[in-house]
């Protein structure tokens, strides 16, 4: 499943040959990572977005604080992660509809500053997030 094709591949080939050799680690052909919020938050959103200068309790740029499993879910979906918690006014995810989700648009830089601005997510990570949204964007 791919909502948008990857674009804007930079002029990287010659400069990255040596670097690619560093990354020559055996990989499987398919992405078997779990498309769950717990995985996405811990390995993609928090390391990439919740740095001390961006969407963490230290800075909370644009009011977004993504440095916790439950808080990040609530801020992304507008829905409480746990029954009884208050929803937020922000909603970056439309469950079941990745293409309409602001989160996906920002990760691809469509009509928006691209996030994260310093180091965009690999396409495989964006696709994993799309899979999670397509499955209902549950707190799982």
């Amino acid at each position: 499943m791919q909502i948008a094709t990857s674009r804007h591949r930079g002029p990287k080939v010659a400069l990255l040959v040596a670097a690619l050799s560093l990354g020559a680690v055996g990989c499987s052909e398919t992405d078997e990572r779990p498309a769950t919020w717990s995985y996405i938050s811990a390995t993609i959103i928090q390391p990439s977005c919740a740095t001390s200068r961006c969407h963490s309790r230290g800075s909370a740029v644009f009011g977004l604080q993504l440095d916790s499993l439950e808080g990040g879910y609530t801020q992304m979906t507008g829905s409480p992660a746990i029954v009884g918690q208050a929803p937020t006014g922000q909603n970056f995810v439309v469950p079941g509809d990745p293409a309409s989700s602001r989160l996906v648009q920002m990760l691809r830089g469509i009509e928006s500053e691209r996030m994260p601005p310093d180091s965009p997510l690999p396409e495989a990570d964006i696709e994993l997030i799309e899979t999670w949204i397509l499955a209902g964007a549950r707190f799982n």
């Binding site: 930079g10 990354g23 499987s28 990572r33 200068r53 644009f62 439950e70 830089g109």
Partner: protein
């Protein structure tokens, strides 16, 4: 001459202060100077046992005589020398950045341009007798992009610690907040071994650290916990420990090994533990004036709620050329593989950096970096007190 140099410095400081809202940057040590300047240890030029922040008297002399194309490396260009029990310093950096990461606004897909403050830190080091000291780094906290929450304190201290160290060579213990001795500790925080290796900007934890530093070798053991308010990111585990060992083999080759474990609140972070370990190497080719540096780490991150364990790989390979006194050119290739299982989850980059040291205290940097979906170019002006 001293007055003129001092005036130039003050003008530069004023320009930074007036035009920019200042932001701290992490450790500003240059590991390229180890071996290439004849120094064996980082703490020959720096006060801290593993390098970074305030430079020592020897470091100030080296900055003028060996690294720069002249000048007086002393505090305030030698206009005033603090008493023996006090050492002062500071780093000011301003940057101009062009960043293309593939964004589009309608028909506009032009690169983003930012002029922003990078660092404004003042360093104070007090000696309390012959064996005890206190170090405080104080900086103004800002952000390059976006807006911060209103309650964020703009002034922060990313390093402050007490240290027991009878002599520069030998045992030491320090307690407080500081960047952990681990890996190469490059100045460039976008480097994957810092950005994704738990040593990003403001990821200095509170730690108790001890070890032995000698010309032939050094080792450091640290246990740490996070600053509950300011410290976020991969480096700020609820509890962790790190070990680093470095062996100098003659004056040309260094081999190091490191290991680290970080424990997190599983409910908050979604992960409970990260274990990382790896190697560091440096080789100085005297004839070619080339310094090679490498770091490789492998890590496992467990995510219990997802019933999955990530296997990460971080790699850095760089070469620095010193063609003439005052110029340093570094090319590097790097990769961070988020998980070795699936394809296409690496962040692979190449970078080229040219650093020019026209006089002691001054530095001009040109830095270019290319990643798969992005590139950036940065010009940086650096002045140290």
């Amino acid at each position: 001459m001293r007055a003129a140099a001092m005036l130039r410095g003050l003008v530069l400081v004023a320009a930074f202060g007036a035009g920019l809202a200042l932001a701290p940057r992490a450790a500003s040590a240059y590991p390229q100077f180890q071996l290439s300047t004849g120094a064996q240890r980082c703490n020959q030029c720096h006060i801290a046992p593993a390098g970074g922040t305030l430079i020592s008297g020897y470091g100030r002399e080296e900055a003028a005589d060996t690294i720069s194309r002249g000048g007086d490396g002393g505090f305030l260009h030698g206009a005033w020398t603090p008493p023996d029990w006090l050492q002062l310093g500071g780093d000011l950096r301003g940057a101009f950045l062009v960043n293309d990461n593939g964004r589009t606004f309608g028909d506009d897909s032009s690169p983003a341009v930012h002029a922003f403050p990078m660092q404004a830190d003042l360093y104070t080091h007090f000696k309390m007798g012959s064996q005890l000291s206190a170090t405080i780094v104080l900086g103004y906290r800002g952000t390059a992009r976006g807006q911060q929450a209103a309650d964020v304190d703009p002034v922060g201290s990313r390093e402050h610690y007490l240290m027991w160290r009878p002599k520069p060579q030998g045992p030491y213990v320090r307690a407080g907040r500081f960047l952990l001795p681990y890996g190469l500790r490059l100045a460039e925080h976008p480097s994957v071994v810092r950005r994704w290796g738990g040593q990003n900007v403001n990821e200095e934890p509170y730690a108790l650290s001890g070890g032995v530093v000698k010309n032939e070798y050094e080792w450091h053991l640290s246990v740490h916990t996070a600053d509950p308010v300011r410290c976020t990111g991969l480096g700020c585990a609820d509890f962790g420990a790190a070990a680093y060992y470095e062996r100098r083999m003659g004056e040309k080759f260094i081999l190091g090994a490191q290991a680290r474990i970080a424990l997190y609140d599983e409910v908050v972070r979604g992960q409970d533990m990260t274990m990382t370990g790896g190697l560091v190497a440096k080789y100085w080719a005297e004839g070619a004036k080339l310094l090679f540096m490498a770091q490789a780490d492998y890590g496992r991150k467990s995510i219990p709620m997802a019933d999955y364990t990530n296997q990460e790989v971080l790699g850095y390979l760089g070469a620095t050329w010193f063609p003439v006194k005052g110029i340093m050119i570094t090319g590097a290739a790097e990769t961070f593989i988020e998980d070795v299982g699936p394809p296409g989850v690496d962040r692979t980059a190449g970078s080229l950096e040219i650093q020019y040291f026209p006089k002691a205290h001054f530095e001009l940097i040109g830095y270019g970096r290319v990643e798969a979906d992005a590139w950036l170019y940065m010009t940086q002006l650096h002045y140290y007190l």
